[in-house]
């Protein structure tokens, strides 16, 4: 099956989509303030005219291309393109100051490739058994499982649990607009048939992440990179020997943490870095430009990103905001990610999985030699880039259903995203519940129909009970450990 997938993924057309996705993703990831989530949201409209396989291959490529773009700015400019690369700044920028930027970027590229490939291999191995398990999961278990993801997201990455809950509830409420999924009754449509299909994800995501971010950073002067000397790109034998164990540790950490729904890859890179601080042989040098400080977190976040596909493809649960956006793109293309994909659309799913391997390889082959080109893109005046991005997000929002209303929705959510950033409301829970809302509601209502209205169904079924207990423990623990968390220096918002 996977071989057939490779055959399809390597077709000139799909290869071209992966290539374009990698390049565009890297460019958007380079831009200050725009991470891979925003990049994907902005570029979703571009994929609307493609066939589903092509569209998803391209979006997946944008996803990890964006992550690599963030690494480039972290290393060269000391500006994290996104949360997951923030920790790379410490040693990456020190390496740049020592004239070793090329080595840092190559090592990050190789580490990302290894981490991503191993995680995708795990996906291949785990896919079929896990999706069989996924098929056995009924509505009550699904509901409880999503609650775990939400509890983690609200508890781990938010500044305050209260604000996380508000964000998640708002997302659910937005997802209520449209025809109700069980009885087919229109709700909150303001009598406008445009809203019968619900508020479409694309303008909402483009507004929240794309426009919202551009508004929030509108007062910042664009950073002017000084082109670094890229004397050496190839790591020395010493570098290779030092980074190999870090890459191995990063792969394992990212791969395991990536499986947990609701945890963003920023956590993986932080964990990988702190592990290096404890166990690496040259741990004393961390912070002064040690290669381990680049290799471990960059490997971990890519391993995480690829491992996060496992819960999406096998259980239908997006593990992070970025994956949630990807899930939105799936839905926009008429595909519901989940265990049924392997039986209903085997060709598509294996093509996409094969393209993850291809994309990781493309990223390595393309981006490492092109580093000096990428730094030149950063020299384009910000106002020019911004004008072009505005034009693009307007076209994108309009093209979803050829409606001006969607442009207004995009602008409105841009303002909402801007306010969220100002007042400290996290965006990640809202995105997750926005995408999962209809599934969550159907799961709850179907469960209650099964039990004839009794909520005891959630505690009578052992698996569901276990999930609920875990969710409650996570939420309670995070309420009480808020101060601990701040002291530990964990990020206060998910990578967006």
């Amino acid at each position: 099956m996977l071989l057939d997938g490779f055959g399809a993924a390597l077709s000139p057309q799909n290869l071209a989509f992966a290539l374009i996705g990698c390049l565009l993703g890297t460019i958007l990831g380079l831009l200050p303030g725009i991470g891979s989530t925003a990049g994907m949201a902005i570029l979703i409209p571009l994929t609307l005219a493609l066939d589903p396989a092509g569209a998803i291959i391209m979006l997946a490529a944008i996803f990890y291309g964006g992550a690599y773009g963030g690494t480039i700015t972290s290393v060269l400019l000391n500006i994290p393109g996104e949360g997951e690369s923030a920790i790379t700044c410490i040693d990456g920028y020190q390496m740049t100051l020592k004239g070793r930027a090329g080595v840092a970027l190559t090592t990050a590229g190789i580490g990302s490739f290894i981490g991503g490939t191993v995680a995708t291999l795990a996906l291949v191995i785990a896919a079929e058994p896990l999706s069989r398990l996924g098929l056995k999961i009924g509505p009550p278990e699904f509901f409880s499982l999503v609650l775990i993801g939400l509890a983690l997201l609200v508890g781990l990455v938010g500044r305050s649990v209260l604000l996380g809950i508000i964000s998640a509830t708002l997302g659910l409420l937005i997802a209520m607009v449209g025809i109700d999924p069980v009885m087919g009754m229109p709700r909150f449509t303001f009598g406008d048939p445009h809203f019968f299909d619900g508020i479409s994800y694309v303008p909402v995501l483009v507004g929240l992440f794309g426009l919202g971010e551009l508004l929030a950073t509108s007062g910042q002067a664009a950073p002017r990179p000084t082109a670094p000397t890229l004397r050496e790109l190839i790591p020395s034998r010493m570098d290779a020997r030092r980074s190999a164990p870090s890459i191995a540790r990063g792969t394992v950490i990212g791969g395991l943490v990536g499986l947990i729904p609701g945890v963003s890859s920023a956590i993986s890179s932080l964990l990988a870095y702190s592990t290096e601080k404890k166990v690496a042989r040259h741990r004393d040098e961390l912070g002064t430009g040690a290669i381990e400080g680049v290799a471990a977190p960059e490997t971990a976040n890519n391993s995480h990103s690829n491992a996060a596909f496992i819960p999406l493809f096998t259980l239908g649960i997006p593990a992070s905001p970025a994956i949630a956006v990807l899930m939105g793109a799936f839905l926009q293309n008429g595909i519901t990610p989940g265990p049924t994909l392997f039986t209903e659309e085997p060709e598509l799913i294996w093509t996409v999985i094969a393209s993850l391997f291809v994309g990781n390889l493309l990223l390595l082959l393309l981006n490492v030699p092109l580093v000096s080109l990428w730094t030149r893109i950063l020299a384009i005046p910000y106002s020019v880039l911004r004008a072009v991005i505005f034009a693009f997000i307007v076209i994108g929002s309009y093209a979803v259903s050829n409606s001006v209303i969607d442009i207004y929705i995009m602008v409105a959510f841009g303002v909402i995203g801007f306010v969220f950033r100002q007042v400290g409301l996290p965006l990640a829970p809202l995105v997750l519940t926005l995408i999962l809302g209809p599934f969550l509601e159907s799961a709850l209502r179907q469960s209650l129909q099964l039990s004839r209205g009794s909520f005891s169904i959630f505690v009578d079924r052992p698996l569901s009970l276990a999930f609920l207990v875990v969710a409650a423990v996570i939420l309670l623990a995070s309420v009480f450990s808020a101060s601990l968390k701040r002291r530990a220096g964990l990020p206060t918002d998910a990578e967006v």
Binding site: L211, L215, V404, G424, L444
Partner: protein, 195 residues
């Protein structure tokens, strides 16, 4: 007082101003969240809450609305209390650590410029409003030109070329090659001219 001290005072004043603005925004947001929750509860009363089959279409929105009202009010209380107890800047310039987690610390929120934010939002709305009247090409041309010339203060030639690419160029590529339709003008005179 030397120049360096001047800028320091200016910076801290701007910071206090930003802080104040952000606090009001938090209060307003908490009120809006509460109102949205209340609206959801009221709006969902027209949908059946419970049906013979189980929970109806009104079930979920009503609970969500209720949660929002409660959380919005809690947030409001937290922000108001934080406002009252946040210590003022001491005379020696140091500031006591703000214990409240509910307000965004100064260094974490990105910097924005209010005039730019307003200009962007208004220009986008104008673009949306004129898109189907003037047609994509003219509306987008004017929009990009405004952003480059007025907001970005770019050179005229560069702005004209970029605006043409983003309007006419994108129109041709999208409608001819990507088969994504973009709106044409609804004014017959302009439409006949190919816009």
């Amino acid at each position: 007082m030397n120049a360096e001290a001047d800028t320091l005072v200016g910076d801290s004043q701007a910071a206090v101003e930003r802080e104040r603005r952000r606090r009001w925004l938090s209060i307003a947001s908490a009120v809006v969240v509460t109102l949205v929750g209340a609206a959801a509860v009221i709006g969902s009363r027209t949908y059946p809450y419970w049906t013979p089959l189980g929970p109806g279409p009104g079930f979920f929105p009503r609970w969500l609305g209720g949660i929002l009202v409660v959380c919005g009010l809690l947030w409001l209380v937290q922000v108001l209390r934080a406002t009252r107890t946040t210590p003022a800047r001491h005379a020696d310039g140091t500031q006591e650590a703000v214990a409240q987690a509910i307000l965004v610390p100064e260094d974490e929120a990105p910097e924005y410029s209010l005039p730019t934010v307003l200009a962007i939002v208004v220009s986008l709305c104008v673009l949306a409003a004129t898109l189907e009247v003037l047609g994509y090409q003219i509306a987008m041309f004017l929009f990009v030109l405004f952003h480059l010339l007025v907001l970005g203060r770019r050179r005229l030639l560069l702005s004209l070329v970029l605006a043409l690419v983003c309007s006419v160029g994108v129109f041709v590529v999208f409608t001819r090659f990507l088969t994504v339709p973009l709106p044409a003008s609804s004014i017959p005179f302009l439409r006949d001219m190919g816009f």
